[in-house]
Symmetry: C2
Subunit: 190 residues, 2 copies
């Protein structure tokens, strides 16, 4: 029963289903509007994931729709999935995490897209972690630029320079978001 360990896909699915029950096809479109910027989501990974989440007890299927599942019967029978209470709990525990994994590219975007369901303090921790990660990346780029200034050809240099700029912009963006979040935090504590 190979339990997948990919939490970003689980999170995208569970987080999208929070709003209400959906069938796979529609779920994919909604989820893509959340995370489509950075990830794709093919049926070949979506449907097995839905089945597995159901087996783990996090999702339940709509009974009436499920009657028509048998292959060959009515293949158009939509199967509506919704969160069970265990699923909601699992979603909440995933949303509470804010470790190093959560500030990696893919995971961060999914987590960010679900910020409306995320506790303010966790939000701040994720934003700050992401910030740290990007500052590290900047340092690596700058080191590489100062080390190899002469050895590098025009194009490698240009690529690094452009990459540096992109990361710098994202750092500034994060600074704004962190400031906003901290202001919000202070106002709540009053």
């Amino acid at each position: 029963m190979a339990t997948r360990k990919s939490q970003t896909l689980d999170l995208a699915i569970l987080g999208t289903l929070k709003e209400g029950e959906l069938h796979g096809y529609e779920l994919r479109k909604r989820a893509l509007s959340l995370i489509g910027q950075v990830r794709s989501l093919s049926y070949g990974s979506l449907y097995p994931a839905l089945r597995e989440l159901t087996e783990r007890g996090y999702l339940e299927v709509d009974d009436r729709a499920a009657l028509g599942i048998r292959r060959g019967a009515n293949p158009r029978a939509r199967i509506a999935y919704s969160l069970t209470s265990a699923g909601k709990e699992h979603l909440n525990s995933l949303l509470a995490e804010s470790g190093p994994k959560e500030w990696e590219d893919d995971s961060f975007v999914v987590r960010f897209a679900l910020f409306s369901q995320t506790d303010l303090r966790v939000r701040v921790r994720i934003l700050e972690g992401r910030h740290t990660r990007l500052v590290e990346r900047l340092e690596t780029i700058r080191e590489s630029l100062s080390r190899g200034r002469e050895r590098m050809d025009t194009w490698t240099l240009e690529l690094q320079r452009h990459g540096e700029e992109a990361v710098e912009r994202e750092v500034r963006w994060l600074n704004e978001l962190i400031d906003n979040a901290k202001t919000e935090e202070k106002e709540m504590n009053k």
Copy 2:
């Protein structure tokens, strides 16, 4: 003898080896300074790839270094790889490609980093293809923004907005590069 079809890794290896013979460990560092912004390169994928490229006749190993390969003997014997003439040909044929695959994120960055080894006309085609791809992405983002303006929460909106800006910047960057390349092209034709 499962032949890998991953051309970006092949290209990164062959392109890095163009400058002269290198052993795996050193090759990895050089290749990472080219493509490290966008890809990692673990030993678990590097060494099998080197072996496979050797089997395909694109690389040859330094004889003296190779004598010590036998496991258990001298594990520190470095194995220096260099391009064979078939390898150089293969590299050139990879560098001549400029189809849709070449304007995808990962592939594009590797191709860009090797622009000094790439024909001017191919360079222009790749830059323009990349441009087209990004403009398409912009359209998708903008559609999604105008469709779901009300349905979307603050964070999804903010994410899309930030993504839009990042893509816009990259489009402007490409415009400059394309202009430069076209000027260069005209001057060559005089």
